[in-house]
C-alpha cells in the first residue's frame, strides 16, 4: 500500500460524508464496475437460474440473495485498487474472479446470518467489514479486534447504510416492475406486483412465465444498481475509519512535506539527529519524567477501553429468610413456572389463530376438499338409511291415504338423496330448493332434470303456498319416479 499514490483526498470526515466519498468513487468508475459485474456476476446468475428447471425458482432466488457477499468482492476489488492509482483492467478482474468465488466462501456464507462464528454484526455491517476480510486478510483474534474498532467508529452508519440500501433495492424493484407493467395492456398495481413476487418465491410454477421472469429480471437489475453503490459506500466508511484511527492524512501530509522539502529535510535531519540520539539515550534512563507523563496520559479516561460486563447481585449474609436458601426446589419451581407460561402463551396463540381462522382461511375456502354430504337438507333427513326401500310405493301409500304433503315430501327427500349421494352434487346446508334445482340442471340427464323441476315446483307449492297439489300432477310424479334403485346408493 503506497499512501502517496492514493487518488482520493484523505482527511477525517463525518460518517455520511465518507459514504458519499464511496458513492463518488463508484460513480467515477461506474462503467468499469458495471462491465466487470456483467462479465462475472451475471453469468453466475445465468447458471443459477438455469437450475430453476429442476429446482423451485424461489430457492434459486434465495441462493442468489445469499451469495451477495461474493458479488460484493468484484466492486471492492476494483475500488480498492483504483484508490491507489492501479485501476484494474477487465482482464485483471476476470483473472481474479475464480479466487473471489472460493476464497473463504463457507465462512462468508455462514456469516450471512447473525451468528457468533462471524460475529453478529457482520450481516448488518457487511460493507464496512468486508474490506477487513478481503483486503487485510484478517482472521481469528486480529479480525475480532479490527472488527471491534471499526464498529465502534462507524458501525451505526454501516447498519443504516445496509438498511437504506435494502429498502432502496425493493423500491427500485417495484418501480421498475410498475413501469414495465404500465407499458402492458393490463397494468398491475403495486400490491398485485408484491403478491406476484411472493408467488414467484414461494409458489413455484403458478405464475405466467413472462411475469415470473419480469419479476426476477427486475430484482436482479435493482440488485446490480444498488449493490455497486452499497459496496462503494461501505468502502468509503472503511477508508474514513482507517484515516481517522491511523492518521493516514497526517502521514500523507508528512510524506508530501518530505517530498517538497527534499534535500533541506535531509540537512535538517542530519543536524537534528544527534540531538535526537541524545534524547533517546536520555530516555533510556528509567524512570524519566517523560515516561511518567506518558503513563499519566494513557491512564486518562479518554484512553480507557470500555467493555460491557453483565452480572447479578446475590444477597448473602445478613438476615436470610428461613427456607429461602433452598435453591433446589426454588429452581425447579422457576423452571415449572417458566414452562407453564410458555405453554400458556402457545395455547393462547393457538386459540387466537383458531378464533380468527376465517381471517387466515380467506380465499382458501374454494381450494378445500368438498365437505361431507349433509345428512339433513333444509330440515329434512336425506340420509339413504332414513328412506324406505321403495320410495315411489311408500309415497303412493301416503297419497292414497290422503297425505298429499307427506307423499310429496317423501318424493322430494328421495330426489335430494339421489342428488347428494348418487349424483354427488356439492350441496351445502344453506342450499334452497332453487340451488338444488341448479345442481340438478347441471348433473342430471333431461328426463331426471325435468322430473326434478316438476317435483320441486309441486313441493314448494305445497310447502310455501300451503295449497294442495293437483292430483293429476302427483299421479304423474308417482308413476314416473326416475331414481329407482339409485337414490339410496
Amino acid at each position: 500500500m503506497k499512501l502517496e499514490e492514493v487518488t482520493a483526498e484523505l482527511r477525517p470526515r463525518g460518517s455520511w460524508e465518507a459514504v458519499d466519498l464511496g458513492f463518488a468513487m463508484t460513480r467515477r468508475h461506474f462503467p468499469l464496475l458495471l462491465a466487470a459485474w456483467s462479465l462475472t456476476v451475471v453469468p453466475l446468475w445465468a447458471l443459477l437460474l438455469l437450475a430453476s428447471r429442476w429446482v423451485p425458482v424461489g430457492i434459486v432466488l434465495i441462493v442468489i440473495w445469499w451469495l451477495k457477499p461474493v458479488y460484493d468482492r468484484v466492486p471492492l476489488f476494483i475500488l480498492s485498487r483504483s484508490l491507489f492509482g492501479a485501476t484494474p483492467r477487465l482482464r485483471d478482474v476476470l483473472h481474479a474472479w475464480p479466487g473471489m468465488l472460493v476464497r473463504r466462501l463457507p465462512w462468508l456464507l455462514i456469516a450471512r446470518v447473525p451468528w457468533w462464528i462471524a460475529g453478529p454484526a457482520f450481516s448488518w455491517a457487511r460493507p464496512l467489514l468486508l474490506p477487513v476480510i478481503d483486503l487485510e486478510g484478517q482472521r481469528g483474534r486480529a479480525w475480532k479486534d479490527r472488527r471491534g474498532v471499526l464498529l465502534r467508529q462507524a458501525g451505526g452508519t454501516a447498519v443504516s447504510l445496509v438498511m437504506l440500501c435494502g429498502l432502496y433495492e425493493w423500491i427500485l424493484v417495484f418501480a421498475l416492475l410498475t413501469l414495465g407493467s404500465q407499458m402492458t395492456s393490463d397494468p398491475l398495481g403495486a400490491f398485485e406486483l408484491g403478491d406476484a413476487f411472493m408467488e414467484t418465491v414461494f409458489r413455484n410454477g403458478q405464475m405466467a412465465p413472462w411475469l415470473e421472469w419480469s419479476l426476477i429480471g427486475g430484482y436482479l437489475v435493482a440488485m446490480t444498481l444498488v449493490e455497486l453503490f452499497y459496496v462503494g459506500g461501505g468502502f468509503g466508511l472503511y477508508l474514513n475509519s482507517r484515516t481517522t484511527l491511523e492518521g493516514w492524512d497526517v502521514e500523507l501530509a508528512f510524506r508530501r512535506l518530505a517530498r517538497r522539502l527534499g534535500k533541506a529535510a535531509a540537512i535538517i535531519t542530519a543536524a537534528v539527529l544527534p540531538l535526537c540520539c541524545a534524547g533517546i539515550a536520555h530516555a533510556e534512563t528509567p524512570p524519566s519524567r517523560e515516561a511518567q507523563a506518558i503513563r499519566e496520559v494513557l491512564a486518562h479516561e479518554d484512553f480507557k477501553v470500555h467493555e460491557r460486563e453483565t452480572g447479578h447481585w446475590e444477597r448473602e449474609g445478613d438476615d436470610p429468610k428461613p427456607g429461602f436458601n433452598a435453591p433446589g426446589w426454588f429452581e425447579t419451581l422457576g423452571t415449572v413456572l417458566f414452562y407453564t407460561v410458555i405453554t400458556g402463551l402457545c395455547a393462547l396463540l393457538a386459540w387466537l389463530i383458531w378464533k380468527n381462522r376465517e381471517f387466515f382461511s380467506r380465499g382458501e375456502r374454494a381450494n378445500r376438499a368438498a365437505p361431507a354430504a349433509p345428512r339433513t337438507m333444509m330440515g329434512m333427513d336425506v340420509a339413504p338409511d332414513s328412506l324406505p326401500d321403495d320410495i315411489a310405493a311408500a309415497a303412493r301409500a301416503r297419497w292414497e291415504s290422503g297425505d298429499a304433503r307427506g307423499a310429496l315430501s317423501l318424493l322430494y327427500r328421495g330426489a335430494l338423496s339421489w342428488l347428494i349421494h348418487a349424483a354427488h352434487a356439492p350441496v351445502r346446508d344453506g342450499d334452497t330448493e332453487g340451488d338444488c334445482l341448479r345442481h340438478a340442471d347441471v348433473l342430471a340427464e333431461p328426463v331426471r332434470r325435468d322430473y326434478f323441476t316438476a317435483l320441486t315446483w309441486q313441493w314448494v307449492t305445497v310447502a310455501y303456498a300451503e295449497r294442495a297439489p293437483a292430483a293429476l300432477e302427483v299421479e304423474r310424479l308417482l308413476g314416473s319416479w326416475p331414481f329407482a334403485g339409485e337414490e339410496k346408493r
Binding site: K355, N356, E358, F359, R362, R365, M378, G379, M380, R428, D429, G430, D431, T432, E433, G434, D435, L437, R438, D450, T453, A454, T456, W457, V460, T461, A463, Y464, A465, E466
Partner: protein
C-alpha cells in the same frame, strides 16, 4: 328461481295476475333501454314494488338516470333529479314559501321531492343536514314546510347514488340513515356484448330512448301492483329464515355491526316483490336468498381487521347465506 314448467293462459286475469303482467311488461320495456343490467333492473323494480328506496353505488356513466327516467315513463309518473353538492340546503330539496307581493300572501314553492321518482345524485356530497331532510322525507313520505305538512304523491321512490371513487369532500351517510334505504344496489359495467350493443345503438341512433318508452299503466296500476306484492303469502318458516339471516349478521365475527330487525323486515318485503315478479303468490326461501345481499349489505359494517385485508361485506354475507340452513316445513 322459476320452478314452473308450464303455464296456462288465464281466461280472466285476477288482480294479482294483472299486476304480474304489468310488472313483467315494465321489466321488458325498461330492459330494452337499460341494457345488460338485468339484475340491477330486477332489484330496483322489486324495491319500487315494495315501496322502498334504493341506494345505488356504481361508477359514473352507467345509465342510472336513464333507468329512473325509463321507469317513470312506463307508468306516466313524474321524475326529478337533484345533484347533491356541498352547498345544497334542505329547502332546496323540500321546498319553501315565498311572499307573493301581488297576491299579498305566502305562496308555496314545492321542492323537487314532490315527484314519483326522485334521483338523488351523489347524496354523500351534501352535508348531514340536507341529507337528513331527504331521509326524513323518505321515511315519512311527507314534507313539512313552515309547519304545514304536505303529503307526497304516491308512488314515491328515491334512488340515491353514491360515487365510490371519490371520498374527498364527501359526507358518508351514517349507518342509522343507511338503514332507511330498502336496498343497496351495486351497479357494474355491462358485459362486452351488451356494451357493444349500447355503443352501436347510440352511434346509429337505432336504440330506443327512455323518453320513447310506451306507457304500460298509470299510477293506479302501479299502486295496485304494490298492493298485490304486499299480499304475497309468507309462511312462518320463511319469516324465521329471514330473521335467522339477519341475526347471523349480528353474530358473525366478520362484522362489527350487524343488521337490525328492520333488515329482516326488509328482506321479507323485497322477497315478496321478487316472488310476485316471478309470478308466484307465495315466497320461497330462494326469494329471501336473492334479496339477502342487496338488502343487508348496507346494514352491516365489516370488522376493521377484515376490512384491512380487503374483505367486503358481500364476501361475509355470501358465506352467511351459504351456511345458514334453509327452512323446511
Amino acid at each position: 328461481m322459476d320452478y314452473t314448467t308450464e303455464t296456462q293462459p288465464p281466461t280472466q286475469p285476477s288482480p294479482f295476475e294483472y299486476a304480474v303482467e304489468v310488472m313483467s311488461t315494465i321489466r321488458r320495456r325498461v330492459g330494452r333501454v337499460f341494457l345488460g343490467q338485468t339484475s340491477v333492473l330486477d332489484q330496483v323494480l322489486a324495491a319500487f314494488l315494495a315501496g322502498g328506496h334504493v341506494l345505488i353505488e356504481g361508477k359514473p356513466g352507467l345509465g342510472k338516470t336513464h333507468l329512473v327516467l325509463a321507469i317513470a315513463q312506463t307508468f306516466g309518473g313524474a321524475f326529478k333529479r337533484i345533484q347533491f353538492t356541498p352547498d345544497l340546503m334542505p329547502s332546496d330539496v323540500t321546498g319553501h314559501t315565498l311572499y307573493d307581493m301581488g297576491a299579498l300572501q305566502f305562496r308555496l314553492r314545492r321542492g323537487p321531492v314532490f315527484t314519483n321518482l326522485l334521483l338523488a345524485d351523489e347524496i354523500n356530497r351534501a352535508p348531514a343536514k340536507t341529507q337528513a331532510a331527504l331521509l326524513e322525507v323518505m321515511q315519512e313520505v311527507q314534507v313539512t314546510i313552515d309547519g304545514e305538512s304536505h303529503a307526497l304523491p304516491p308512488p314515491f321512490m328515491t334512488l340515491a347514488t353514491q360515487n365510490p371513487i371519490e371520498q374527498e369532500g364527501t359526507y358518508p351517510l351514517p349507518e342509522a340513515q343507511l338503514d332507511r334505504f330498502l336496498m343497496k344496489v351495486v351497479i357494474d359495467y355491462p358485459e362486452q356484448r351488451d356494451e357493444e350493443q349500447i355503443v352501436g345503438e347510440l352511434l346509429t341512433g337505432t336504440g330506443l330512448k327512455a323518453a320513447e318508452i310506451q306507457q304500460v299503466c298509470d299510477v293506479d296500476g302501479i299502486l295496485a301492483a304494490q298492493r298485490a306484492a304486499a299480499s304475497v303469502r309468507v309462511t312462518p318458516e320463511v319469516i324465521a329464515y329471514a330473521v335467522r339471516l339477519a341475526r347471523a349478521t349480528r353474530e358473525a365475527q366478520g362484522f362489527a355491526l350487524g343488521a337490525g330487525t328492520r333488515g329482516a323486515i326488509s328482506l321479507v318485503r323485497v322477497a315478496k316483490s321478487f316472488a310476485m315478479m316471478a309470478g308466484r303468490d307465495f315466497v320461497t326461501p330462494d326469494d329471501i336468498k336473492s334479496a339477502a345481499l342487496p338488502v343487508l349489505r348496507h346494514r352491516v359494517s365489516v370488522a376493521p381487521e377484515l376490512a384491512i385485508s380487503g374483505q367486503t361485506a358481500d364476501d361475509t354475507l355470501a358465506a352467511i347465506v351459504n351456511n345458514t340452513e334453509a327452512p323446511r316445513r
